[in-house]
């Protein structure tokens, strides 16, 4: 009996403590939104899907000119033909994704059986492998094409990341993504938050630092600097490497959890991928 009482008190203490230090994902999202609202009182919430151009009127003009002849159109077309073409075994992507290509808002999500976050590229490669096809490389090329097509077909959807309550590991994954976001990394010792929160709107040499909210709505992106399409995790890699940290494996645990955390902060924002950036 004494033991049970002791254990319960210990448990209550732990729960009480973690409640005190841990904000809920929804509270985090409100903190992000309020932070940006205070910095940029005139930017309407939905405009954050345009990334840094929501707060950079000069860059926005160039970008709008680019969007008139979208550089990602060929990627959408190539992705559509991938979707429509049968694998060697005669099956297609539709056999794995019976709801069709408009499925962007379902990712990333928590998978209870696997005990991990599932991103869209992971699901696409799982489908390929189940059908005897080689998995695609994650950063660019064919994967960016098929995700571009899916993103385009999903354009009327909104971001809707769910952290299911029936599996505490889902919240843990979110918290790990959050920790990653605030951890200073690399020889230059920057966290994601140092640039995209603390110094948002400021100029780093020639680049204006964009807000975190809205950063996930428009992938893949045709980036002028790359001269081609790239995926979200390719951008994670770039942002890690510019502070001289070693990048992590695309769709490995670190970046999966980071995507889970980061995409959550864009909840309720429309999906507008694929996109173009400088």
């Amino acid at each position: 009996m004494k033991k049970i009482v002791l254990m319960t008190t210990a448990l209550l203490m732990v729960v009480g403590f973690s409640n005190a230090v841990m904000a809920s994902p929804e509270e985090d999202r409100q903190i992000f939104l309020n932070f940006y609202k205070e910095r940029f009182p005139n930017v309407p919430q939905d405009d954050y899907i345009n990334g840094v151009y929501a707060i950079d009127p000069v860059g926005r003009e160039n970008w709008e000119a680019i969007e008139e002849f979208p550089p990602y159109e060929t990627a959408i077309d190539a992705g559509k033909s991938m979707w429509d073409t049968a694998f060697a075994n005669g099956k297609t992507y539709s056999d794995c994704f019976p709801d069709g290509p408009a499925i962007m808002s379902k990712y990333p999500h928590w998978n209870k059986e696997k005990g991990s976050v599932i991103t869209l590229p992971l699901a696409l490669n799982a489908c390929r492998e189940a059908n005897g096809e080689k998995p695609l490389k994650y950063n660019k090329g064919a994967i960016a094409n098929i995700v571009s097509y899916i993103a385009y077909e999903s354009r009327d959807q909104v971001t809707n990341v769910v952290i299911p309550k029936d599996d505490p590991r889902a919240l843990e994954a979110y918290e790990m993504g959050k920790k990653f976001y605030f951890t200073k990394r690399g020889q230059l010792n920057f966290s994601c938050a140092n640039c995209h929160l603390q110094n948002v709107g400021m100029v780093l040499r020639t680049e204006i630092l964009g807000p975190a909210v809205g950063q996930t709505t428009h992938w893949p992106v045709y980036r002028s600097k790359w001269g081609e399409m790239g995926t979200l995790h390719r951008r994670f890699k770039g942002c890690n490497e510019q502070v001289r940290a070693k990048a992590f494996k695309p769709h490995g645990e670190e970046y999966r959890n980071l995507e889970y955390f980061l995409t959550y902060q864009s909840n309720n924002l429309p999906l507008n991928g694929p996109g173009a950036r400088k």
Partner: protein, 116 residues
Amino acid sequence: MRKTKYLGILVLAFILVGGIGCATASSDKMSSMKTEMTADDATAAIAAADAARKKAGSVSGEWRDTGKIIGEAEEAAKAGDFAKAVKLANKAKVQGERGYEQMVSQEKLRLPSYFK
């Protein structure tokens, strides 16, 4: 009697000079003490650097260039420039150590004051 005292001073002098010698040597990573680096020195320094790099990686704290610097050290060793190899390896080792410390010091998430 007088002899012992004299000896005492000598010993003291040696300790002093020796101590300073050591201090400068260690701040120069022993390079001033030993100018001729051998293949074994290079192998040992590279192994130590790689261990430090891996230790940083074990806490997700590896830096971008550490592996590259170790590669350069290996190449210098292959070319017979052991002094250069040791110098590069030592640089990589410090990177590994700092990267490890960087992550361990942030083991517990500390939200910045601006996040509120």
